[in-house]
Symmetry: C2
Subunit: 454 residues, 2 copies
């Protein structure tokens, strides 16, 4: 009998807790949907600063902006955390293609971290391959002295577009060093793009040590289609000019951190963040202004609602996600040095679109503690907890200290239309979708702070 | 022993069927995501015809376009189905507000079906109320001779925005007849809008018989905010001019129908549709060009894949959803007169956004037959089968013949930023999101055609 009474008692407590959680989650949603300032914050960041590559004067201004925004959100404490970052500089660049009788200028972007043509103009015939297998089959004599066009298409059949990106991104990352081994003098790639437009996409690339550093440029899908047809018919030529290069010295920069002190277990920390740096095109709104303003919004909402979290909540605007992750490493280094207890770290770096899921990168026992809230999230459109996704900036926390990671998973359909392009602007972000992402992260933080994760 | 073997046999069959369904659903998805023409069809409809209110020359051109597109998609049979429709004509209109010292012209739209000022200029003081309760409390003397500003805000706290619309739309629909009963001479409303912009939204309104027909105009949120502040401070004035009116005679128009004949039970029909008419602003891309091109896409995809559906599949571009539903009624009238057997009707009229659910308006026993496929839809982002939602155009099929209805439920966050505005353009539709909606409807049709629903 006793055990039955105990069971009933536990069940009633569980029901009460469920109702209580549901109510608090609703309050968080109403507060952010009705009074959220993240959309206005994003407008200020994108329209008064714009893009902000690591090491640039714009990135420095973004740090100042972030500090101010974090204070205005009501954080108990705001500070900057030092991180030295690489500074890749684009400078002037141009690409001319001769696909018929005459050269014409096309839209193109040098890939991030790549070396340019050192002020000279590189003119060479183009040879097209569709993938690495085709390239491997080519004799050196056919590659030598040429610009290789890696015409690999983003696979639009993947419904979750990050799978298409994962599949295609090796062509951006590795092509120059692979091509240089057979004597190629430059690389052109079809952008990692789902877009039905001509925006070229930049993004990080990498040279293998000891292999000659040749320049790499990307084309939007429309120009890539045109070049594909030209290669099928004849032997087009390219004239490539680019000043881009990695600056010799790293630049002193910062993560921006805002904190609400926990009331019961302040030594237990929940981190939420996005990255403050962007590529040097567009306005860095979707990637990742959205994640920054959502993280600040969580601080604001907790304060506005008078919620007193048991755990300490830290919103972090990480520096240098795009080409180094130095901010993420600095944060984890500091956490480890201070022997901090991090309960959970969440990142929003997949755009300010309607949330659909929360990726979980943690042991199964912890996953189960989060997925038991699944039904509570359904009315906010979040149903998918099946993916193993955290985030680049919080990655070092897991690597160094085994911190459980979560990643906000918004709808992925539009992300790779915009990613690393001039079209990644404030106008592409919807105010309700952006806010809803902040709602879901704030709700998860509330639940973990209230009920723990261990 | 025998029964165990039977159970195992049934289980294996069920597993085989599940695997078979999963594979066919993937083929449908790949076909549409890789080769779908719905986005290009939408471009042609919106950019060469544009908006197309019932009865207008543009609506007639859209019928011709639809017939051609349906044939190009490969339908076995394409025909037009007659429907006489009302023709509401906007003409010239303007609204000037005196919120300070001088009149200034503001963006405004007459509401659909409303009468204008018959060529004259209506000048009157404005009185503001926030809702019907406040209006009821006003004495007649305070309303008489004035223009009433119904300043009711779209509730942004609803996560599913159609709930906010359902809550707010009565102010558009009913305000003029309510205000006229106390002697008001005109009505201004805050648009049914989630937008953080100044686009006024049009949409259907209704006069109660025997009550004087006074004009009604809508404001975008920014101008409505300005007028709200002006009303709080003083007594603003308005000058309203509008030629709009309902044409005396209905216009002869059509639904466009394309069909694939069923191979095993051709007498069983599955209808899928959207509406071809739009309001007379923007390009009618989201409302509801999207639903039309998705319906045509389903015909194309079945044909391209060589799928031979057991049931007959009909794609219908309905005429006159916006202000009369005459197309929907004509379709149901014909079905009833011919004693057709309609297994299911599906509508897409909530925008070309990423699909998230399928609304089911049918008895529980049928709902269960559809929700058993739930896990198959998860990888396409569809998880919500809980809403009782069909569609306006297919409504008469249920009313007259008890046909089970389904409604595609895309993500709702952006819909009421665009709905019935000049901003409802092709550019607001994403190609992948649009296609994914067609994928999910085609998959549902495949499953119901293959396994029945009864």
């Amino acid at each position: 009998m006793k055990s039955s009474i105990l069971t009933i008692g536990i069940s009633i407590c569980a029901l009460n807790s469920y109702a209580q959680d549901s109510l608090q989650m609703r309050k968080i949603s109403d507060e952010i949907m009705l009074h959220g300032t993240c959309y206005e914050n994003l407008r200020v960041l994108t329209k008064t600063i714009g893009h902000r590559i690591s090491g640039s004067p714009e990135a420095a201004r973004a740090v100042t902006w972030g500090e101010k925004a974090m204070k205005e959100a009501g954080a108990d404490k705001v500070w900057l955390q030092a991180a030295d970052v690489p500074y890749w500089y684009r400078g002037k660049e141009s690409l001319y293609l001769k696909m018929g009788k005459e050269y014409k200028k096309v839209r193109a972007l040098s890939l991030g971290n790549s070396e340019g043509t050192y002020g000279k103009t590189l003119e060479a015939p183009i040879i097209m391959v569709h993938n690495f297998d085709e390239f491997k089959a080519l004799p050196e004599s056919e590659v030598k002295g040429k610009i290789v066009f890696f015409d690999y298409r983003f696979r639009q059949d993947f419904v979750f577009t990050f799978e298409g990106y994962g599949d295609a991104v090796r062509y951006r990352w590795a092509s120059p060093s692979i091509a240089a081994q057979k004597g190629a003098v430059g690389v052109i790639i079809r952008s990692m793009s789902t877009g039905k437009d001509d925006f070229p996409h930049t993004g990080g690339m990498h040279y293998t040590d000891s292999i000659k550093k040749i320049p790499e440029m990307s084309l939007g899908n429309i120009t890539a289609d045109e070049l594909e047809r030209a290669c099928e018919k004849g032997a087009p030529m390219a004239k490539m000019t680019s000043e881009c290069h990695m600056m010799p010295q790293p630049v002193h920069s910062f993560n921006v951190i805002g904190e609400i002190k926990g009331t019961e277990t302040p030594e237990r920390i929940i981190t939420v963040g996005g990255h403050l740096d962007s590529w040097d095109v567009g306005e860095g709104a979707t990637d990742d202004g959205a994640g920054c303003v959502q993280s600040i919004e969580i601080i604001r909402a907790f304060k506005a609602l008078g919620l007193k979290p048991k755990c300490t909540i830290r919103a972090v605007l990480f520096m240098n996600e795009e080409n180094g992750d130095r901010g993420g490493e600095a944060y984890a280094d500091s956490a480890k040095a201070k022997n901090e207890h991090h309960v959970l770290a969440i990142e929003s770096d997949a755009g300010g679109f309607s949330p659909r899921g929360i990726g979980l990168e943690m042991p199964d026992s912890l996953k189960q503690q989060i997925t038991k809230y699944k039904n509570l999230f359904l009315q906010y459109g979040v149903y998918d907890f099946s993916r193993e996704e955290g985030g680049t900036d919080i990655g070092p926390l897991k690597k160094q200290m085994n911190v459980p990671l979560a990643g906000l998973l918004p709808d992925s359909q539009r992300y790779f239309d915009l990613h690393h392009t001039d079209n990644d602007t404030f106008e592409q972000v919807n105010h309700r979708e952006l806010k809803l992402g902040a709602v879901v992260m704030a709700q998860l933080i509330y639940l973990v702070s209230e009920h723990g994760l261990n």
